[in-house]
């Protein structure tokens, strides 16, 4: 009795430590293992050229990137997105709390990796998506939001979070 109890007491801190280590050692950048996929929110918005966006245009596999001309980090991830678009990844922009003239000027100046950009000056669609700021990126597969990345998109996040989801979807179909 005494022996086993002593053993148990010794074991207890170990159990607690393992538990906390597991929680704490998760890399903040590469979390979101249990992102719950949800339907893409309904919206009625134009693109940056003033044409209404059809929900049809979001079918298939799309990377939705939240950006704005005032957003500094968007400029940091811009080369990477340009690179992705050259690899035939379909990127749709979500222009967030911006003015269309400034946004279009920004695209003109830095290049446009987007198929088109949804113009969301009040951030309504962004709110429904759960956007907390720019930049953020969402992976949409067949009108379902299956992944979410906050902050700058880069090679590591792309390869560890979005790419596996895309590969899984392609194998499934």
């Amino acid at each position: 009795m005494n022996q086993s109890l002593r053993f148990l007491i010794l074991l207890l801190p170990l159990i607690v430590l393992t538990f906390f280590a597991k929680v704490l050692l998760v890399n903040e950048d590469i979390k979101l293992p249990n992102f719950e996929s949800k339907d893409f929110p309904l919206f009625q918005l134009n693109d940056l050229n003033g044409n209404p966006v059809q929900s049809r245009s979001l079918e298939g596999i799309k990377l939705i990137n939240v950006w704005a001309s005032w957003c500094i980090t968007c400029l940091v991830e811009h080369p990477f997105l340009t690179n992705l678009s050259k690899q035939n990844i379909q990127i749709v922009g979500l222009n967030y709390k911006d003015s269309d003239s400034k946004a279009n000027a920004w695209l003109q100046k830095h290049g446009n990796p987007y198929l088109f950009s949804i113009f969301d000056p009040r951030g309504d669609l962004a709110f429904d998506l759960g956007v907390t700021g720019a930049p953020e990126s969402y992976l949409i597969i067949n009108n379902k939001v299956v992944g979410h990345i906050q902050g700058e998109m880069n090679q590591i996040k792309w390869e560890t979070i979005f790419l596996p989801l895309i590969q899984k979807a392609q194998q499934g179909s």
Binding site: I9, F127, D128, G133
Partner: protein, 126 residues
């Protein structure tokens, strides 16, 4: 001379930061109470730890305005929290709902405490 200064200083009155913020008006004091309770229980998604009441981040402002709209529209507290957590995740609620894995969060510490007490007393008796 003093008149000039008076005019100049009167401009200061116009520059109060409160002009920047939305003033929330309610139909009754219950709505107001609920609003302020809710915004102190919804976590700012952009901050390390802080409620949307304590934050002036753009997304917190949007959230406050949305909560305000929903309170006026007659949604219950639970509906409002669900509305927010559907968009910003369970993380957004400072008082996690009593369901699923959250049971561990709510009762884990007590289970732990109980366990320690049991061990403590058994040890004393031995």
């Amino acid at each position: 001379m003093s008149k000039k200064f008076l005019i100049l200083f009167s401009f200061l009155l116009l520059s109060t930061p409160s002009f920047n913020q939305m003033v929330y008006e309610f139909n009754d004091s219950l709505q107001e109470k609920r609003f302020y309770a809710l915004i102190s229980e919804i976590r700012c998604p952009k901050c390390t730890s802080g409620s949307i009441a304590s934050s002036d981040a753009p997304v917190s402002r949007d959230l406050k305005n949305k909560v305000y709209e929903l309170v006026l529209a007659g949604s219950t507290d639970q509906e409002i929290k669900k509305y927010v957590s559907e968009r910003f995740g369970d993380f957004s609620d400072y008082r996690p709902a009593l369901e699923g894995p959250n049971y561990f969060l709510w009762f884990g510490p007590f289970v732990f405490l109980g366990l320690m007490l049991v061990i403590f007393f058994i040890k004393r008796r031995v």
